[in-house]
Protein backbone atom coordinates (compact mmCIF):
# COMPACT_ATOMS: atom_id res chain seq x y z
CA UNK A 1 0.00 0.00 0.00
CA UNK A 2 2.75 2.42 0.83
CA UNK A 3 4.41 1.45 -2.40
CA UNK A 4 1.26 2.65 -4.18
CA UNK A 5 2.30 6.12 -3.16
CA UNK A 6 5.20 5.91 -5.57
CA UNK A 7 3.09 5.19 -8.61
CA UNK A 8 3.06 7.77 -11.36
CA UNK A 9 -0.62 8.65 -11.03
CA UNK A 10 -0.27 9.34 -7.40
CA UNK A 11 2.89 11.40 -7.73
CA UNK A 12 1.42 13.46 -10.54
CA UNK A 13 -1.75 13.89 -8.50
CA UNK A 14 0.13 15.03 -5.42
CA UNK A 15 2.24 17.51 -7.35
CA UNK A 16 -0.66 18.99 -9.31
CA UNK A 17 -2.78 19.30 -6.16
CA UNK A 18 0.10 20.76 -4.25
CA UNK A 19 0.64 23.47 -6.84
CA UNK A 20 -3.03 24.44 -6.76
CA UNK A 21 -3.22 24.42 -2.98
CA UNK A 22 -0.08 26.56 -2.77
CA UNK A 23 -1.57 29.38 -4.84
CA UNK A 24 -3.50 31.33 -2.19
CA UNK A 25 -0.66 30.82 0.29
CA UNK A 26 1.76 32.32 -2.22
CA UNK A 27 -0.28 35.43 -2.89
CA UNK A 28 -0.86 36.08 0.79
CA UNK A 29 2.59 35.16 2.03
CA UNK A 30 4.48 37.17 -0.59
CA UNK A 31 2.39 40.19 0.31
CA UNK A 32 3.07 39.63 3.98
CA UNK A 33 6.77 39.26 3.24
CA UNK A 34 6.90 42.82 1.95
CA UNK A 35 5.16 44.06 5.04
CA UNK A 36 7.34 42.15 7.46
CA UNK A 37 10.50 43.09 5.64
CA UNK A 38 9.59 46.70 6.30
CA UNK A 39 8.99 45.88 9.95
CA UNK A 40 5.25 45.35 10.16
CA UNK A 41 3.45 42.19 11.24
CA UNK A 42 -0.06 41.77 9.86
CA UNK A 43 -2.07 38.96 11.43
CA UNK A 44 -5.25 40.09 9.71
CA UNK A 45 -4.44 38.41 6.40
CA UNK A 46 -7.20 35.85 6.70
CA UNK A 47 -9.82 38.56 7.13
CA UNK A 48 -8.50 40.42 4.09
CA UNK A 49 -8.64 37.21 2.10
CA UNK A 50 -12.24 36.54 3.03
CA UNK A 51 -13.36 40.03 2.11
CA UNK A 52 -11.42 39.79 -1.13
CA UNK A 53 -12.93 36.40 -1.86
CA UNK A 54 -16.45 37.65 -1.33
CA UNK A 55 -15.97 40.85 -3.29
CA UNK A 56 -14.49 39.03 -6.26
CA UNK A 57 -17.26 36.47 -6.19
CA UNK A 58 -20.04 39.02 -5.89
CA UNK A 59 -18.68 41.23 -8.64
CA UNK A 60 -18.05 38.24 -10.89
CA UNK A 61 -21.49 36.84 -10.40
CA UNK A 62 -23.29 40.14 -10.90
CA UNK A 63 -21.24 41.56 -13.75
CA UNK A 64 -19.99 38.37 -15.33
CA UNK A 65 -16.55 39.91 -15.60
CA UNK A 66 -13.84 37.92 -13.83
CA UNK A 67 -11.06 40.47 -14.16
CA UNK A 68 -13.34 43.09 -12.70
CA UNK A 69 -13.78 40.68 -9.82
CA UNK A 70 -10.02 40.48 -9.33
CA UNK A 71 -9.74 44.24 -9.52
CA UNK A 72 -12.42 44.81 -6.91
CA UNK A 73 -10.81 42.24 -4.63
CA UNK A 74 -7.57 44.19 -4.97
CA UNK A 75 -9.36 47.42 -4.09
CA UNK A 76 -11.02 45.92 -1.05
CA UNK A 77 -7.76 44.37 0.11
CA UNK A 78 -5.99 47.66 -0.39
CA UNK A 79 -8.61 49.47 1.68
CA UNK A 80 -8.20 47.01 4.51
CA UNK A 81 -4.46 47.50 4.14
CA UNK A 82 -4.91 51.23 4.31
CA UNK A 83 -6.82 50.92 7.55
CA UNK A 84 -4.18 48.60 8.97
CA UNK A 85 -1.45 50.98 7.87
CA UNK A 86 -3.09 53.95 9.50
CA UNK A 87 -3.64 52.09 12.73
CA UNK A 88 -0.10 50.75 12.75
CA UNK A 89 1.92 53.71 11.52
CA UNK A 90 -0.01 56.70 12.77
CA UNK A 91 -1.53 55.22 15.89
CA UNK A 92 1.31 52.85 16.79
CA UNK A 93 -1.13 50.11 17.65
CA UNK A 94 0.23 46.80 18.89
CA UNK A 95 0.58 44.98 15.59
CA UNK A 96 -0.16 41.40 16.50
CA UNK A 97 -3.39 42.42 18.16
CA UNK A 98 -4.67 44.95 15.67
CA UNK A 99 -4.17 42.23 13.09
CA UNK A 100 -6.43 39.88 14.99
CA UNK A 101 -9.00 42.64 15.20
CA UNK A 102 -8.95 43.10 11.44
CA UNK A 103 -9.19 39.35 11.00
CA UNK A 104 -12.36 39.17 13.10
CA UNK A 105 -13.78 42.16 11.26
CA UNK A 106 -13.09 40.65 7.84
CA UNK A 107 -14.44 37.27 8.91
CA UNK A 108 -17.65 38.74 10.25
CA UNK A 109 -18.23 41.30 7.51
CA UNK A 110 -17.68 38.84 4.65
CA UNK A 111 -20.11 36.41 6.26
CA UNK A 112 -22.66 39.16 6.87
CA UNK A 113 -22.45 40.51 3.32
CA UNK A 114 -22.71 36.99 1.96
CA UNK A 115 -25.90 36.36 3.93
CA UNK A 116 -27.48 39.69 3.05
CA UNK A 117 -26.37 40.19 -0.54
CA UNK A 118 -26.33 36.66 -1.89
CA UNK A 119 -28.30 34.60 0.56
CA UNK A 120 -27.59 31.18 -0.89
CA UNK A 121 -24.57 29.21 -1.82
CA UNK A 122 -24.04 29.31 -5.55
CA UNK A 123 -21.29 28.82 -8.06
CA UNK A 124 -19.73 31.08 -10.61
CA UNK A 125 -18.00 30.35 -13.86
CA UNK A 126 -14.50 31.21 -12.80
CA UNK A 127 -11.15 31.26 -14.48
CA UNK A 128 -10.67 28.11 -16.44
CA UNK A 129 -7.53 26.14 -16.99
CA UNK A 130 -5.17 27.73 -19.44
CA UNK A 131 -4.14 25.62 -22.38
CA UNK A 132 -0.62 26.27 -23.58
CA UNK A 133 0.02 24.78 -27.04
CA UNK A 134 3.02 22.51 -26.60
CA UNK A 135 3.58 22.53 -22.88
CA UNK A 136 0.15 21.34 -21.78
CA UNK A 137 0.48 18.21 -23.85
CA UNK A 138 3.73 17.05 -22.32
CA UNK A 139 3.13 13.68 -20.67
CA UNK A 140 3.84 14.08 -16.97
CA UNK A 141 5.13 17.63 -16.73
CA UNK A 142 2.18 18.91 -18.67
CA UNK A 143 -0.33 17.44 -16.26
CA UNK A 144 1.40 18.85 -13.25
CA UNK A 145 2.53 22.28 -14.31
CA UNK A 146 0.67 23.30 -17.40
CA UNK A 147 -2.95 22.53 -16.75
CA UNK A 148 -3.62 25.21 -14.20
CA UNK A 149 -5.57 28.43 -14.36
CA UNK A 150 -3.99 31.78 -14.87
CA UNK A 151 -4.03 32.86 -11.25
CA UNK A 152 -1.84 29.90 -10.38
CA UNK A 153 0.75 31.08 -12.88
CA UNK A 154 0.55 34.64 -11.60
CA UNK A 155 1.09 33.46 -8.04
CA UNK A 156 4.22 31.58 -8.93
CA UNK A 157 5.44 34.42 -11.13
CA UNK A 158 5.20 36.73 -8.14
CA UNK A 159 8.07 34.92 -6.46
CA UNK A 160 10.91 35.96 -8.79
CA UNK A 161 9.30 39.38 -9.17
CA UNK A 162 9.23 39.84 -5.40
CA UNK A 163 12.81 38.62 -5.14
CA UNK A 164 13.89 41.05 -7.78
CA UNK A 165 12.09 44.01 -6.23
CA UNK A 166 13.38 43.29 -2.75
CA UNK A 167 16.98 42.61 -3.70
CA UNK A 168 17.70 44.46 -6.91
CA UNK A 169 15.77 47.68 -6.76
CA UNK A 170 16.14 50.86 -4.77
CA UNK A 171 12.63 50.39 -3.49
CA UNK A 172 13.62 47.01 -2.14
CA UNK A 173 16.65 48.49 -0.51
CA UNK A 174 14.55 51.11 1.18
CA UNK A 175 12.07 48.50 2.35
CA UNK A 176 14.81 46.40 3.87
CA UNK A 177 16.47 49.39 5.45
CA UNK A 178 13.24 50.50 7.02
CA UNK A 179 12.79 47.05 8.44
CA UNK A 180 16.30 46.71 9.81
CA UNK A 181 17.07 50.18 11.05
CA UNK A 182 14.32 52.72 10.62
CA UNK A 183 16.22 55.43 12.47
CA UNK A 184 19.13 55.20 10.10
CA UNK A 185 16.85 55.05 7.09
CA UNK A 186 15.00 58.08 8.34
CA UNK A 187 18.19 60.03 8.80
CA UNK A 188 19.11 59.21 5.22
CA UNK A 189 15.91 60.78 3.99
CA UNK A 190 13.79 57.67 3.51
CA UNK A 191 10.22 58.21 4.60
CA UNK A 192 9.62 55.27 6.90
CA UNK A 193 5.93 55.97 7.00
CA UNK A 194 5.61 56.15 3.22
CA UNK A 195 7.46 52.84 2.71
CA UNK A 196 5.41 51.08 5.34
CA UNK A 197 2.15 52.42 3.97
CA UNK A 198 3.21 51.05 0.63
CA UNK A 199 4.13 47.58 1.86
CA UNK A 200 1.08 47.19 4.06
CA UNK A 201 -1.29 48.26 1.30
CA UNK A 202 0.53 45.99 -1.12
CA UNK A 203 0.14 43.15 1.36
CA UNK A 204 -3.56 43.84 1.66
CA UNK A 205 -3.97 43.95 -2.10
CA UNK A 206 -2.26 40.61 -2.52
CA UNK A 207 -4.32 39.10 0.29
CA UNK A 208 -7.41 40.23 -1.56
CA UNK A 209 -6.17 38.50 -4.70
CA UNK A 210 -5.41 35.40 -2.63
CA UNK A 211 -9.04 35.31 -1.58
CA UNK A 212 -10.20 35.93 -5.12
CA UNK A 213 -8.03 33.08 -6.35
CA UNK A 214 -10.11 30.83 -4.14
CA UNK A 215 -13.56 32.13 -4.94
CA UNK A 216 -13.35 32.76 -8.67
CA UNK A 217 -10.51 30.59 -9.88
CA UNK A 218 -9.82 27.50 -7.87
CA UNK A 219 -13.13 26.77 -6.17
CA UNK A 220 -15.67 28.95 -7.96
CA UNK A 221 -17.80 29.29 -4.87
CA UNK A 222 -18.07 31.38 -1.74
CA UNK A 223 -18.85 30.00 1.70
CA UNK A 224 -18.54 31.63 5.09
CA UNK A 225 -15.07 31.21 6.53
CA UNK A 226 -13.98 29.31 3.45
CA UNK A 227 -10.33 30.11 4.12
CA UNK A 228 -10.52 28.28 7.44
CA UNK A 229 -7.38 29.86 8.88
CA UNK A 230 -5.33 29.83 5.68
CA UNK A 231 -4.20 33.41 6.28
CA UNK A 232 -2.55 32.53 9.56
CA UNK A 233 -0.62 29.70 7.95
CA UNK A 234 0.47 32.13 5.25
CA UNK A 235 1.88 34.48 7.89
CA UNK A 236 3.65 31.58 9.56
CA UNK A 237 5.17 30.63 6.20
CA UNK A 238 6.85 34.02 5.98
CA UNK A 239 8.82 33.11 9.07
CA UNK A 240 9.49 29.67 7.63
CA UNK A 241 10.84 31.23 4.48
CA UNK A 242 13.17 33.50 6.44
CA UNK A 243 11.61 36.57 4.82
CA UNK A 244 12.86 35.56 1.41
CA UNK A 245 10.46 35.06 -1.49
CA UNK A 246 12.12 31.81 -2.55
CA UNK A 247 12.02 30.57 1.03
CA UNK A 248 8.35 31.42 1.20
CA UNK A 249 7.80 29.50 -2.02
CA UNK A 250 9.56 26.54 -0.45
CA UNK A 251 7.37 26.76 2.62
CA UNK A 252 4.15 27.08 0.65
CA UNK A 253 5.06 24.11 -1.52
CA UNK A 254 6.16 21.98 1.41
CA UNK A 255 2.96 22.65 3.29
CA UNK A 256 0.71 22.14 0.30
CA UNK A 257 2.45 19.06 -1.00
CA UNK A 258 2.29 17.34 2.37
CA UNK A 259 -1.38 18.32 2.57
CA UNK A 260 -2.14 16.66 -0.74
CA UNK A 261 0.03 13.73 0.30
CA UNK A 262 -2.06 13.11 3.41
CA UNK A 263 -5.21 13.09 1.29
CA UNK A 264 -3.68 10.33 -0.81
CA UNK A 265 -2.53 8.46 2.27
CA UNK A 266 -6.17 8.25 3.30
CA UNK A 267 -7.36 7.25 -0.16
CA UNK A 268 -4.80 4.50 -0.53
CA UNK A 269 -6.01 2.98 2.69
CA UNK A 270 -2.75 3.37 4.55
CA UNK A 271 -3.82 2.70 8.14
CA UNK A 272 -3.27 6.08 9.71
CA UNK A 273 -6.24 7.67 11.53
CA UNK A 274 -7.62 10.53 9.50
CA UNK A 275 -6.89 13.12 12.19
CA UNK A 276 -3.25 12.08 12.40
CA UNK A 277 -2.98 12.30 8.62
CA UNK A 278 -4.42 15.81 8.68
CA UNK A 279 -1.75 16.80 11.22
CA UNK A 280 1.07 15.89 8.87
CA UNK A 281 1.63 19.23 7.08
CA UNK A 282 1.78 21.12 10.38
CA UNK A 283 4.14 18.71 12.07
CA UNK A 284 6.38 18.49 9.06
CA UNK A 285 6.65 22.24 8.71
CA UNK A 286 7.97 22.49 12.24
CA UNK A 287 10.30 19.53 11.81
CA UNK A 288 11.79 20.88 8.59
CA UNK A 289 12.43 24.21 10.22
CA UNK A 290 14.09 22.52 13.17
CA UNK A 291 16.26 20.49 10.85
CA UNK A 292 17.36 23.50 8.85
CA UNK A 293 18.40 25.65 11.77
CA UNK A 294 18.79 29.02 10.24
CA UNK A 295 21.15 31.81 11.05
CA UNK A 296 18.81 34.35 9.56
CA UNK A 297 17.40 36.89 11.94
CA UNK A 298 14.11 38.66 11.66
CA UNK A 299 14.05 42.23 10.41
CA UNK A 300 15.18 44.03 13.54
CA UNK A 301 12.36 46.50 13.59
CA UNK A 302 9.63 43.88 13.12
CA UNK A 303 6.55 44.80 15.22
CA UNK A 304 8.15 47.92 16.62
CA UNK A 305 6.39 51.17 15.75
CA UNK A 306 8.58 54.01 14.58
CA UNK A 307 8.41 57.54 15.80
CA UNK A 308 10.38 60.33 14.39
CA UNK A 309 12.34 62.37 16.92
CA UNK A 310 11.59 65.85 15.66
Amino acid sequence: MISDLLSMTVLVGILASGIRLATPYLFAAIGETFGQRSGVLNLGVDGQMLLGAFTAFYVAITTGNLWLGILSAMVVGALMGLAMAFVTINLHAEQGISGIGFYLFGLGLSDLLFQKLLGTVETVKGFSKVYIPVLSDLPVIGDIFFRQNILVYIAFALVPIAWFVLNKTTLGLKIRAVGENPEAADSLGVSVARIRYFTIILGGTLSGVAGASLSIALLNVFQQNMTSGLGFIAVALVYFGAWRPWGVLGGALLFSLVNSLQLWVQVLGIPIPSDIAVMMPYVLTILVLVATVSRVRAPSALTKPFERED
Binding site: T9, V10, V12, G13, A16, S17, R20, L21, P24, D111, F114, Q115, G119, T120, V121, E122, T123, L214, L218, L219, N220, V221, Q223, Q224, N225, M226, T227, S228, L230, N259, S260, L263, W264, Q266, V267, L268, G269, P273, S274, D275, A277, V278
Partner: protein, 335 residues
Amino acid sequence: MKRFRLLLTGLLLIAVLLGACQAKDSAPSAAFEDTFKVAVVMPSAINDLAFSQSMYDALLAIQDWMGGEEAMEFVYSDGMFVVDDAAAAIRDYASEGYDLVIAHGSQYGSSLQEIAPDFPETSFAWGTTVDTFGLDNIFAYEAASQEGGYVNGVIAASLSESGVLGVVGPIETGDAKLYVDGFVAGAEATNPDVQVNVNYIGSFSDVALASEAANTHIAAGADGLTGTAQMVVGAIGVAEENDAMWFGTQASQSGLAPANVVANQVYHWEVILKEIVQMIADGTFGGTSFVVDLANGGEAMDYNADYELPAEVMSLADDTVKGIIDGTITIDLGE
Protein backbone atom coordinates in the same frame (compact mmCIF):
# COMPACT_ATOMS: atom_id res chain seq x y z
CA MET B 1 -70.80 11.55 -21.48
CA LYS B 2 -72.02 14.70 -19.84
CA ARG B 3 -73.09 12.83 -16.73
CA PHE B 4 -69.74 11.13 -16.54
CA ARG B 5 -67.96 14.45 -16.71
CA LEU B 6 -70.26 15.86 -14.04
CA LEU B 7 -69.50 12.87 -11.85
CA LEU B 8 -65.79 13.27 -12.38
CA THR B 9 -65.89 16.96 -11.57
CA GLY B 10 -67.98 16.24 -8.50
CA LEU B 11 -65.53 13.59 -7.32
CA LEU B 12 -62.64 15.93 -7.96
CA LEU B 13 -64.34 18.66 -6.01
CA ILE B 14 -64.95 16.38 -3.08
CA ALA B 15 -61.36 15.17 -3.17
CA VAL B 16 -60.09 18.72 -3.12
CA LEU B 17 -62.37 19.71 -0.29
CA LEU B 18 -61.39 16.66 1.67
CA GLY B 19 -57.77 17.42 1.05
CA ALA B 20 -58.16 20.98 2.23
CA CYS B 21 -60.03 19.90 5.33
CA GLN B 22 -57.38 17.32 5.99
CA ALA B 23 -54.63 19.92 5.89
CA LYS B 24 -56.49 22.22 8.21
CA ASP B 25 -57.18 19.47 10.69
CA SER B 26 -53.54 18.41 10.82
CA ALA B 27 -52.26 21.72 12.07
CA PRO B 28 -52.94 22.00 15.80
CA SER B 29 -52.69 25.75 15.85
CA ALA B 30 -56.15 25.80 17.30
CA ALA B 31 -54.76 24.10 20.38
CA PHE B 32 -52.48 27.03 21.12
CA GLU B 33 -54.12 30.15 22.44
CA ASP B 34 -51.20 32.41 21.78
CA THR B 35 -48.61 32.36 19.08
CA PHE B 36 -46.52 29.25 19.32
CA LYS B 37 -43.01 30.50 19.94
CA VAL B 38 -40.01 28.52 18.81
CA ALA B 39 -36.34 29.28 19.23
CA VAL B 40 -33.54 27.38 17.56
CA VAL B 41 -29.82 27.36 18.22
CA MET B 42 -27.60 26.17 15.36
CA PRO B 43 -23.88 25.70 14.96
CA SER B 44 -23.47 27.09 11.45
CA ALA B 45 -25.12 29.61 9.15
CA ILE B 46 -28.69 29.24 7.94
CA ASN B 47 -27.47 29.22 4.37
CA ASP B 48 -24.74 26.62 4.72
CA LEU B 49 -26.52 24.31 2.27
CA ALA B 50 -26.11 21.58 4.87
CA PHE B 51 -26.96 20.91 8.50
CA SER B 52 -28.28 24.24 9.71
CA GLN B 53 -30.04 25.19 6.53
CA SER B 54 -32.08 21.99 6.60
CA MET B 55 -33.49 22.87 10.02
CA TYR B 56 -34.14 26.48 9.06
CA ASP B 57 -36.06 25.37 5.98
CA ALA B 58 -38.01 22.87 8.06
CA LEU B 59 -39.07 25.56 10.48
CA LEU B 60 -40.31 27.69 7.62
CA ALA B 61 -42.34 24.73 6.45
CA ILE B 62 -43.79 24.26 9.92
CA GLN B 63 -44.68 27.91 10.11
CA ASP B 64 -46.52 27.57 6.86
CA TRP B 65 -48.29 24.45 8.02
CA MET B 66 -49.45 26.09 11.21
CA GLY B 67 -50.86 29.07 9.45
CA GLY B 68 -48.17 31.69 9.13
CA GLU B 69 -46.51 34.13 11.44
CA GLU B 70 -49.47 34.75 13.64
CA ALA B 71 -49.75 31.11 14.52
CA MET B 72 -46.09 30.42 14.96
CA GLU B 73 -43.09 32.67 15.22
CA PHE B 74 -39.54 31.52 15.42
CA VAL B 75 -36.22 33.09 16.22
CA TYR B 76 -32.76 31.70 15.74
CA SER B 77 -29.18 32.02 16.86
CA ASP B 78 -26.90 30.78 14.13
CA GLY B 79 -23.16 30.34 14.06
CA MET B 80 -23.26 29.04 17.63
CA PHE B 81 -20.30 26.74 17.35
CA VAL B 82 -19.01 27.79 20.75
CA VAL B 83 -20.73 25.34 23.08
CA ASP B 84 -20.59 27.76 25.95
CA ASP B 85 -22.34 30.56 24.07
CA ALA B 86 -24.94 28.12 22.79
CA ALA B 87 -25.70 27.04 26.36
CA ALA B 88 -26.25 30.65 27.35
CA ALA B 89 -28.52 31.12 24.35
CA ILE B 90 -30.59 28.04 25.11
CA ARG B 91 -31.03 29.05 28.71
CA ASP B 92 -31.91 32.58 27.73
CA TYR B 93 -34.54 31.54 25.21
CA ALA B 94 -36.07 29.21 27.77
CA SER B 95 -36.26 31.93 30.37
CA GLU B 96 -37.79 34.28 27.82
CA GLY B 97 -40.73 31.93 27.67
CA TYR B 98 -40.30 30.21 24.34
CA ASP B 99 -42.53 27.17 24.05
CA LEU B 100 -40.07 25.03 22.15
CA VAL B 101 -36.31 25.48 22.17
CA ILE B 102 -34.46 23.44 19.60
CA ALA B 103 -30.80 22.70 20.21
CA HIS B 104 -29.77 21.69 16.72
CA GLY B 105 -26.31 20.35 17.33
CA SER B 106 -25.00 17.22 18.98
CA GLN B 107 -22.48 19.24 20.97
CA TYR B 108 -25.28 20.99 22.85
CA GLY B 109 -26.44 17.92 24.71
CA SER B 110 -24.38 18.37 27.81
CA SER B 111 -25.67 21.87 28.33
CA LEU B 112 -29.23 20.78 27.72
CA GLN B 113 -28.97 18.14 30.40
CA GLU B 114 -28.46 20.93 32.90
CA ILE B 115 -30.81 23.52 31.55
CA ALA B 116 -33.90 21.44 30.89
CA PRO B 117 -34.68 20.57 34.51
CA ASP B 118 -34.76 24.27 35.37
CA PHE B 119 -37.54 24.91 32.89
CA PRO B 120 -40.20 22.21 33.24
CA GLU B 121 -42.75 24.26 31.31
CA THR B 122 -40.53 24.53 28.28
CA SER B 123 -40.13 21.83 25.71
CA PHE B 124 -36.67 21.19 24.35
CA ALA B 125 -35.65 19.31 21.27
CA TRP B 126 -32.14 18.07 20.68
CA GLY B 127 -30.52 16.67 17.57
CA THR B 128 -28.84 14.64 16.32
CA THR B 129 -29.04 11.83 18.82
CA VAL B 130 -31.52 9.55 20.51
CA ASP B 131 -30.65 10.34 24.13
CA THR B 132 -33.32 12.25 26.07
CA PHE B 133 -31.44 11.81 29.33
CA GLY B 134 -34.62 10.36 30.78
CA LEU B 135 -36.00 13.86 31.17
CA ASP B 136 -39.62 14.48 30.33
CA ASN B 137 -39.14 17.78 28.61
CA ILE B 138 -36.51 16.83 26.10
CA PHE B 139 -37.31 15.38 22.68
CA ALA B 140 -34.39 13.87 20.86
CA TYR B 141 -34.11 13.48 17.11
CA GLU B 142 -31.68 11.85 14.81
CA ALA B 143 -31.22 11.33 11.13
CA ALA B 144 -30.65 7.85 9.80
CA SER B 145 -28.37 9.36 7.23
CA GLN B 146 -26.90 5.99 6.42
CA GLU B 147 -30.15 5.11 4.65
CA GLY B 148 -29.93 7.78 2.01
CA GLY B 149 -26.23 7.12 1.91
CA TYR B 150 -26.94 3.51 1.10
CA VAL B 151 -29.31 4.43 -1.72
CA ASN B 152 -26.79 6.90 -3.12
CA GLY B 153 -24.16 4.18 -2.93
CA VAL B 154 -26.38 1.75 -4.81
CA ILE B 155 -27.03 4.25 -7.59
CA ALA B 156 -23.39 5.30 -7.75
CA ALA B 157 -22.12 1.74 -8.03
CA SER B 158 -24.69 0.94 -10.70
CA LEU B 159 -23.81 3.95 -12.82
CA SER B 160 -20.06 3.93 -12.33
CA GLU B 161 -18.16 2.86 -15.41
CA SER B 162 -14.72 2.99 -13.86
CA GLY B 163 -15.74 1.06 -10.78
CA VAL B 164 -14.12 3.63 -8.52
CA LEU B 165 -16.00 6.03 -6.27
CA GLY B 166 -14.74 8.81 -4.01
CA VAL B 167 -16.02 10.19 -0.70
CA VAL B 168 -14.96 13.50 0.88
CA GLY B 169 -15.81 13.75 4.56
CA PRO B 170 -15.23 16.41 7.23
CA ILE B 171 -14.44 14.64 10.47
CA GLU B 172 -14.89 10.95 11.06
CA THR B 173 -17.71 11.23 13.52
CA GLY B 174 -21.47 11.55 14.05
CA ASP B 175 -23.82 12.24 11.19
CA ALA B 176 -20.99 12.46 8.67
CA LYS B 177 -19.66 9.02 9.51
CA LEU B 178 -23.12 7.49 9.37
CA TYR B 179 -23.66 8.82 5.87
CA VAL B 180 -20.25 7.75 4.62
CA ASP B 181 -20.56 4.25 6.06
CA GLY B 182 -24.00 3.90 4.52
CA PHE B 183 -22.70 4.97 1.13
CA VAL B 184 -19.85 2.49 1.24
CA ALA B 185 -22.21 -0.30 2.30
CA GLY B 186 -24.65 0.46 -0.49
CA ALA B 187 -21.97 0.61 -3.14
CA GLU B 188 -20.31 -2.61 -2.05
CA ALA B 189 -23.63 -4.43 -1.80
CA THR B 190 -24.41 -3.53 -5.39
CA ASN B 191 -21.01 -4.27 -6.85
CA PRO B 192 -18.60 -6.24 -4.65
CA ASP B 193 -15.69 -5.23 -6.88
CA VAL B 194 -16.30 -1.51 -6.56
CA GLN B 195 -13.55 0.54 -5.00
CA VAL B 196 -14.80 3.26 -2.66
CA ASN B 197 -12.06 5.64 -1.52
CA VAL B 198 -12.67 7.82 1.48
CA ASN B 199 -10.77 10.75 2.87
CA TYR B 200 -11.65 12.98 5.81
CA ILE B 201 -10.19 16.47 5.60
CA GLY B 202 -10.38 17.25 9.31
CA SER B 203 -12.52 20.37 9.01
CA PHE B 204 -16.09 21.41 8.28
CA SER B 205 -15.12 24.61 6.54
CA ASP B 206 -11.93 24.14 4.50
CA VAL B 207 -13.37 24.33 0.99
CA ALA B 208 -9.99 24.34 -0.74
CA LEU B 209 -8.89 21.13 0.94
CA ALA B 210 -12.22 19.50 0.14
CA SER B 211 -11.68 20.45 -3.47
CA GLU B 212 -8.24 18.86 -3.56
CA ALA B 213 -9.58 15.80 -1.75
CA ALA B 214 -12.01 15.43 -4.64
CA ASN B 215 -9.19 15.89 -7.14
CA THR B 216 -7.39 13.07 -5.39
CA HIS B 217 -10.36 10.81 -6.01
CA ILE B 218 -10.59 11.83 -9.65
CA ALA B 219 -6.92 11.09 -10.12
CA ALA B 220 -7.49 7.70 -8.50
CA GLY B 221 -10.04 7.00 -11.20
CA ALA B 222 -13.33 7.86 -9.55
CA ASP B 223 -16.21 8.83 -11.80
CA GLY B 224 -18.68 9.28 -8.96
CA LEU B 225 -18.19 11.46 -5.90
CA THR B 226 -20.05 12.20 -2.72
CA GLY B 227 -19.44 13.95 0.54
CA THR B 228 -21.08 15.67 3.48
CA ALA B 229 -20.95 18.99 5.36
CA GLN B 230 -20.72 22.54 4.11
CA MET B 231 -17.18 22.47 2.70
CA VAL B 232 -18.35 19.93 0.16
CA VAL B 233 -19.18 22.70 -2.31
CA GLY B 234 -15.51 22.59 -3.28
CA ALA B 235 -15.79 18.93 -4.16
CA ILE B 236 -18.93 19.52 -6.23
CA GLY B 237 -17.00 21.98 -8.37
CA VAL B 238 -14.36 19.35 -9.05
CA ALA B 239 -17.02 16.83 -10.00
CA GLU B 240 -18.44 19.29 -12.47
CA GLU B 241 -15.03 20.06 -13.95
CA ASN B 242 -14.22 16.41 -14.48
CA ASP B 243 -17.65 15.35 -15.62
CA ALA B 244 -18.09 13.04 -12.66
CA MET B 245 -21.33 12.20 -10.93
CA TRP B 246 -22.19 13.87 -7.65
CA PHE B 247 -24.39 12.50 -4.89
CA GLY B 248 -25.54 14.94 -2.27
CA THR B 249 -26.87 14.79 1.25
CA GLN B 250 -28.49 17.07 3.84
CA ALA B 251 -29.88 19.40 1.16
CA SER B 252 -30.51 19.42 -2.55
CA GLN B 253 -27.27 20.32 -4.26
CA SER B 254 -28.61 19.94 -7.78
CA GLY B 255 -28.51 23.66 -8.38
CA LEU B 256 -24.75 23.79 -7.94
CA ALA B 257 -23.98 21.39 -10.79
CA PRO B 258 -27.14 20.63 -12.77
CA ALA B 259 -25.36 18.41 -15.24
CA ASN B 260 -23.57 16.30 -12.69
CA VAL B 261 -25.71 15.90 -9.61
CA VAL B 262 -27.56 12.61 -9.81
CA ALA B 263 -29.44 12.39 -6.54
CA ASN B 264 -29.59 13.96 -3.11
CA GLN B 265 -30.71 12.73 0.25
CA VAL B 266 -32.67 15.64 1.64
CA TYR B 267 -33.72 16.05 5.23
CA HIS B 268 -37.28 16.98 6.04
CA TRP B 269 -37.06 17.69 9.71
CA GLU B 270 -40.62 19.04 9.54
CA VAL B 271 -41.87 15.48 9.53
CA ILE B 272 -40.84 14.97 13.12
CA LEU B 273 -41.28 18.60 14.08
CA LYS B 274 -44.97 18.21 13.28
CA GLU B 275 -45.19 15.30 15.68
CA ILE B 276 -43.34 17.25 18.34
CA VAL B 277 -45.65 20.24 17.97
CA GLN B 278 -48.65 17.92 18.16
CA MET B 279 -47.33 16.31 21.33
CA ILE B 280 -46.72 19.70 22.92
CA ALA B 281 -50.26 20.70 22.04
CA ASP B 282 -51.43 17.56 23.81
CA GLY B 283 -49.42 18.45 26.87
CA THR B 284 -46.35 16.23 26.50
CA PHE B 285 -43.14 18.19 26.51
CA GLY B 286 -40.62 15.49 25.86
CA GLY B 287 -39.39 12.03 26.65
CA THR B 288 -39.56 10.62 23.14
CA SER B 289 -36.88 10.28 20.54
CA PHE B 290 -37.48 10.48 16.82
CA VAL B 291 -35.61 9.36 13.79
CA VAL B 292 -35.98 10.87 10.38
CA ASP B 293 -35.59 8.10 7.88
CA LEU B 294 -36.89 6.98 4.56
CA ALA B 295 -39.86 5.27 6.17
CA ASN B 296 -41.44 8.35 7.68
CA GLY B 297 -40.44 10.69 4.89
CA GLY B 298 -38.09 12.64 7.11
CA GLU B 299 -35.45 11.65 4.65
CA ALA B 300 -36.24 11.58 1.01
CA MET B 301 -34.36 10.88 -2.16
CA ASP B 302 -34.44 13.88 -4.41
CA TYR B 303 -33.50 13.12 -7.99
CA ASN B 304 -32.08 15.80 -10.19
CA ALA B 305 -34.60 16.49 -12.94
CA ASP B 306 -31.79 17.54 -15.27
CA TYR B 307 -29.96 14.24 -14.95
CA GLU B 308 -31.11 11.40 -17.13
CA LEU B 309 -31.25 8.40 -14.89
CA PRO B 310 -31.64 5.13 -16.79
CA ALA B 311 -34.92 3.43 -16.00
CA GLU B 312 -33.45 0.26 -14.55
CA VAL B 313 -31.24 2.21 -12.14
CA MET B 314 -34.21 4.29 -11.13
CA SER B 315 -36.23 1.21 -10.32
CA LEU B 316 -33.27 -0.33 -8.49
CA ALA B 317 -33.13 2.81 -6.38
CA ASP B 318 -36.83 2.66 -5.68
CA ASP B 319 -36.56 -1.00 -4.74
CA THR B 320 -33.68 -0.19 -2.44
CA VAL B 321 -35.73 2.49 -0.73
CA LYS B 322 -38.60 0.08 -0.33
CA GLY B 323 -36.25 -2.58 0.97
CA ILE B 324 -34.82 -0.29 3.60
CA ILE B 325 -38.27 0.80 4.67
CA ASP B 326 -39.70 -2.66 5.05
CA GLY B 327 -36.53 -4.00 6.58
CA THR B 328 -35.52 -6.48 3.95
CA ILE B 329 -32.33 -4.56 3.38
CA THR B 330 -30.14 -4.09 6.43
CA ILE B 331 -27.27 -1.66 6.30
CA ASP B 332 -24.08 -3.08 7.67
CA LEU B 333 -22.09 -0.22 9.15
CA GLY B 334 -19.17 -2.52 9.84
CA GLU B 335 -16.37 -1.07 11.92
